[in-house]
């Protein structure tokens, strides 16, 4: 750097500039609001979103806190109290064909639905987003190869893929998570890749290059955070899908082996007794599946609106 001229000769840059700079900042009396809070505000204005949120919170409490308060025997069958209709003493929602209490069983069964749903969606979202961001950012032949892999798996119907995998391995909860995630990551990968294609040409991503930053920084610090709206919205739909997939799997008998309880399994079991008029064996697990899936879909819709409004108001 060459010698700077005497400082006193320099005009103070900021009589004009400082005024321009500081004024609007002071006008805004509230402190800097993080974006998530604006998103939350818009989110809470959406009534369906609040309904969805309440349902999800209810199910989390129901499945994980419920068994601590409501004790029922879910290990030993009790044929004396089998097939009891709802409203029976000490069996509020009735019992199934081997005498398990329906209410207690719904609680236990929901645990695996929520756990597997959340975990599978999380794995699928994280892996898929990274995959898509890397492919989209690097472009060229890397992109071509990575996306052809995605296309290949997408060409196989996902339920078929999952069934195939589930029939090869003996399912445990951990393995089921992986199996469901294995078919679910393709969606986020394609979505995020598309988003990345437009984000990578943005000046602020170009600026990283100009500053001498590497690809990893561009992807992790700039591209993924700016695709977060798409990713989060997709993740909520992923949870709903994973719960449905799990229910479908266990309904078809490829779920976790008994005595493990599961909504899909309960439903499947209940269908054997439709002719006996034991409607409660079908209605309760079915209702749970529908409610939780609808709730997550409400959440996803509301989040999408919230993120979009933020973009519009900016």
């Amino acid at each position: 750097m060459s010698t700077p001229p005497q400082p006193e000769q320099l005009p103070i840059p900021d009589l004009a500039a400082g005024a321009e700079a500081s004024k609007p900042l002071e006008q805004q009396d509230q402190p800097a609001r993080p974006m998530w809070r604006m998103v939350l505000q818009i989110f809470l204005q959406n009534k369906l979103a609040v309904v969805g949120l309440i349902i999800v919170v209810f199910f989390v409490l129901f499945c994980f806190i419920g068994p601590m308060l409501y004790h029922s025997n879910q290990v030993l069958s009790n044929l004396r109290s089998a097939d009891l209709p709802p409203g029976s003493p000490s069996h509020l929602l009735g019992t199934d064909d081997v005498g398990y209490d329906e209410l207690g069983r719904l609680m236990i069964g929901g645990q695996s639905a929520l756990e597997i749903g959340l975990a599978a969606a999380a794995i699928a979202t994280v892996f898929g987003s990274l995959w898509g961001a890397v492919a989209g950012y690097l472009g060229g032949w890397v992109d071509a190869v990575m996306m052809r892999i995605v296309d290949t798996f997408l060409a196989i119907p996902s339920l078929f893929l999952v069934l195939l995998l589930a029939s090869i391995i003996t399912p445990t909860e951990g393995l089921l998570i992986l199996v469901i995630a294995f078919s679910a990551w393709l969606g986020p990968a394609r979505l995020v890749r598309g988003e990345t294609l437009s984000l990578r040409t943005r000046d602020y991503v170009q600026a990283v290059k100009m500053m001498g930053g590497g690809n990893r920084r561009s992807i992790l610090r700039h591209i993924l955070p700016n695709a977060i709206g798409t990713i989060v919205v997709n993740a909520t739909f992923q949870i709903a899908d994973a719960i449905l997939t799990l229910a479908a799997l266990t309904f078809l008998g490829f779920g976790i082996a008994p005595p493990h309880a599961d909504w899909g399994g309960m439903l499947s079991n209940g269908t054997q007794f439709t002719s006996n008029g034991y409607w409660w064996m079908i209605i309760w697990p079915g209702l749970c599946i529908v409610l939780i899936v609808v709730a997550f879909n409400f959440l996803g819709d509301a989040l999408r609106d919230a993120f979009e409004v933020r973009l519009r108001k900016r």
Binding site: A19, P24, Q28, K209
Partner: protein, 688 residues
């Protein structure tokens, strides 16, 4: 009786926390054959005024009061059905962006015909004839053939001609043009303005020309209304406004123009602060908070719009300028504020070149097909460009869009790799470096982007944005980086609290300050500024230009300043390089290039720039570059400028001219260079 008479128009737009009083008591009138210019900075309500006349307000907008009389009928009181009969028939409108105003899936002939189908009962043949007639009128070559063309087949200038044709096809009494040339190149801008001017006198219609550019209206408008914060603050005929502005805001706008200080190199006058929030407009004069003459009276009382002489009204208690002057005869003397030439304060070491660009060539392939990328052609973006920038110098690179100036900038900072040629920075060949070494050298060169907002990650706080270059290069620890961020904010005149805020919380000028601060973070030797002020209003532009010249003096920076605006470049640069279609056609000391250009393109470019001086604009006539920039896919043989050059001869097509030296380091690539003094009389310098 005037064609349009707007009386006390008030327009409100509902927002979540109230209503924006976008237009607040505006009155003006336009006569037959008159061109009224409406000027003001962005957000002052000029576009809303235009949209209110057409009743095309955005959702939430409504006319809250006043009358809009078109030939005696009140448009504001009409039903939706009635106003639809006025739009497109009695009032034509031209929007800013011809790209988005035309439907890309419909042939232009059918789009121009649309108003006729809506408003007349012409037969298909009559419509066809009228469309061809109107397209011919706006200067579209071979209109009978072109009516089946789609918008993407036409250039930007031609699309804007089509837009004007569509506005004119029903012979409107009034044409409203909202920033009709802002999206166009300067040489095309000149042609479109000429067209509007010409049509108005031929068709005898009234025109309202809305623009932020004082230069655009100087040579064209009969009368000018200056708007500020939803009101007209001054209105009079063009010569009187430019010669004797009475409102301090008008005066400040003129003083902020870089051409006024280009010869002396003084710091520009910049209007402090920002326009007021129009949800709760301030009491008293709305300009008071930014006005250097404001008193307590200004802050409490609202000055009425009136004047000492007929035909010159202004809303100010303490008008500036000359009360007695009836008709001004020349540009008024600009008041000087600071002294000292910012260019002279910098030491330039001519013997020590900081940046050497030699024989730089870059060609982008044009591919077709999705799976197998066939190479079907190539765009010659940079074709053998060489220049040298000494340490401490400011090198201005000018040219129309698509001439390759931005591509050169991106090469200098290492964002692109050249096909051939070398770039040396401080003696080190930059182009040969790869990987880590290259990234290390990138510390020496930083880029400032045109769109500051787009260059700042919207999800990062300003503090993190400014610290990012330090983090990348592993400079200091967390605490020392935070300290450096504070220093940087101070350097560019932003408060420390800015570090905790997000980019969207800042105004355009502030964002460009953040961009500057980020560029300074690594203490670079060279800063490439790519159109840093072209997106800013003139008063904010002045602030940024002043800041850039201060920083240059304080840190001994070297700038490569890329711009399409020759007057901005002339103000800041020591040396100017003029580019045309990938070639450097002229380079030399700034004043020499500006005042004694040797290349016909430079001459034309200077003659085309709109000058905020009605006398100069009218005096220089129809010089300037004609036609449009040829495609860089197949650039013309020999001299690339020959297709638009008035002096082109056979040799120009055969042989490519090399840069030839003239006096004092001034070089130009032309077979028939202009002699010094040629045509000098035909042009009047920008500042009188």
């Amino acid at each position: 009786m005037p064609i349009l008479d707007v009386q006390d128009l008030r327009t409100e737009i509902a927002v979540s926390n109230g209503a924006v009083h976008a237009v607040d008591g505006v009155s003006f009138s336009v006569d037959r054959g008159e061109l009224l210019g409406v000027v003001g900075e962005s957000g002052c309500g000029k576009t809303m005024t235009a949209l209110s006349i057409m009743r095309l307000l955005p959702s939430g907008g409504r006319i809250a009061g006043g009358r809009v009389l078109l030939g005696g009928e009140d448009l504001a009181a009409m039903s939706d059905k009635e106003i639809r009969k006025v739009r497109g028939k009695r009032i034509g409108m031209v929007f800013q962006d011809p790209m988005t105003s035309l439907n890309p899936t419909i042939q232009i002939g059918r789009q121009v015909a649309e108003p006729l189908k809506l408003h007349t009962d012409y037969s298909a043949q009559q419509i066809n004839d009228r469309v061809i007639e109107v397209l011919e009128l706006v200067g579209l070559p071979q209109p009978a053939k072109r009516i089946n063309a789609y918008p993407h087949e036409l250039s930007g200038g031609m699309r804007q001609r089509v837009m004007i044709a569509r506005a004119l096809v029903c012979d409107p009494e009034l044409l409203i043009a909202d920033e009709p040339t802002t999206a166009l190149d300067v040489t095309i801008q000149q042609q479109i303005l000429e067209l509007i001017d010409d049509l108005r006198s031929r068709l005898g219609m009234a025109v309202i020309l809305v623009t932020h550019d004082l230069g655009v209206i100087a040579g064209r408008a009969d009368r000018v209304a200056v708007m500020y914060a939803g009101r007209i603050v001054e209105v009079t005929d063009t010569n009187r406004l430019f010669g004797n502005p009475r409102h301090p805001y008008t005066e400040a706008l003129f003083e902020a123009l870089p051409e006024n200080a280009a010869e002396t190199g003084d710091n520009l006058y910049s209007i402090p602060g920002l326009p007021p929030d129009l949800v709760t407009p301030p009491t008293g004069c709305r300009f008071a908070a930014r006005c250097r003459y404001a008193t307590d009276q200004c802050r409490s009382e609202d000055p009425p719009l009136r004047g000492d002489i007929a035909g010159h009204d202004y809303a100010c208690f303490f008008p500036v300028g000359d009360q007695e002057m009836q008709v001004a005869t020349q540009t008024h003397q600009i008041r000087r504020h600071d002294t000292g030439d910012p260019r002279a304060r910098v030491e330039i070491d001519e013997t020590k070149p900081l940046l050497q660009v030699e024989h730089l060539v870059k060609t982008f392939p044009v591919t077709a097909g999705v799976v197998l990328r066939r190479r079907v052609g190539s765009v010659s973006a940079i074709a053998d460009v060489s220049f040298t920038v000494a340490a401490g110098e400011t090198f201005g690179l000018v040219g129309e869009s698509g001439c390759g100036k931005t591509t050169i900038g991106r090469h200098i900072v290492g964002m692109e790799t050249a096909d051939s040629g070398t770039i040396r920075i401080d003696g080190t060949e930059f182009t040969a470096l790869r990987g880590k070494e290259k990234r290390q050298r990138q510390r020496d060169t930083q880029l400032i982007f045109q769109d500051a907002y787009a260059s700042l990650d919207p999800r990062m706080r300003v503090g993190s944005i400014l610290a990012e270059p330090l983090t990348i290069h592993g400079v200091g620890d967390r605490a020392s980086r935070a300290k450096r961020v504070n220093e940087l904010l101070g350097e560019v005149g932003l408060p420390r609290s800015a570090a905790d805020r997000y980019p969207h919380e800042f105004s355009g000028g502030q964002r460009q300050r953040i961009g500057l601060a980020r560029a300074l973070a690594l203490q670079p030797k060279l800063i490439v500024a790519d159109e840093p002020v072209s997106a800013l209003d003139v008063s904010i532009q002045a602030q940024i230009l002043n800041l850039m010249s201060d920083l240059r003096a304080r840190h001994g920076l070297t700038y490569v300043f890329i711009s399409h605006d020759l007057s901005v470049v002339r103000y800041l640069a020591n040396t100017i390089g003029v580019m045309y279609l990938g070639k450097l056609v002229e380079v030399g000391p700034a004043e020499a290039v500006y005042n004694r250009p040797h290349h016909p393109y430079t001459r034309g470019l200077i003659d085309t720039i709109p000058v905020a001086d009605p006398w100069a604009s009218k005096a220089r006539g129809d010089d300037g570059v004609r036609g449009e920039l040829p495609s860089a896919v197949n650039p013309p043989s020999g001299c690339r400028f020959r297709t638009r050059c008035p002096f082109a001869q056979e040799i120009c097509a055969r042989e490519e001219p090399q840069l030839r030296s003239f006096e004092g380091g001034h070089r130009a690539a032309c077979h028939f260079p202009l002699e010094v003094g040629t045509a000098a009389g035909s042009r009047i310098s920008a500042s009188a």
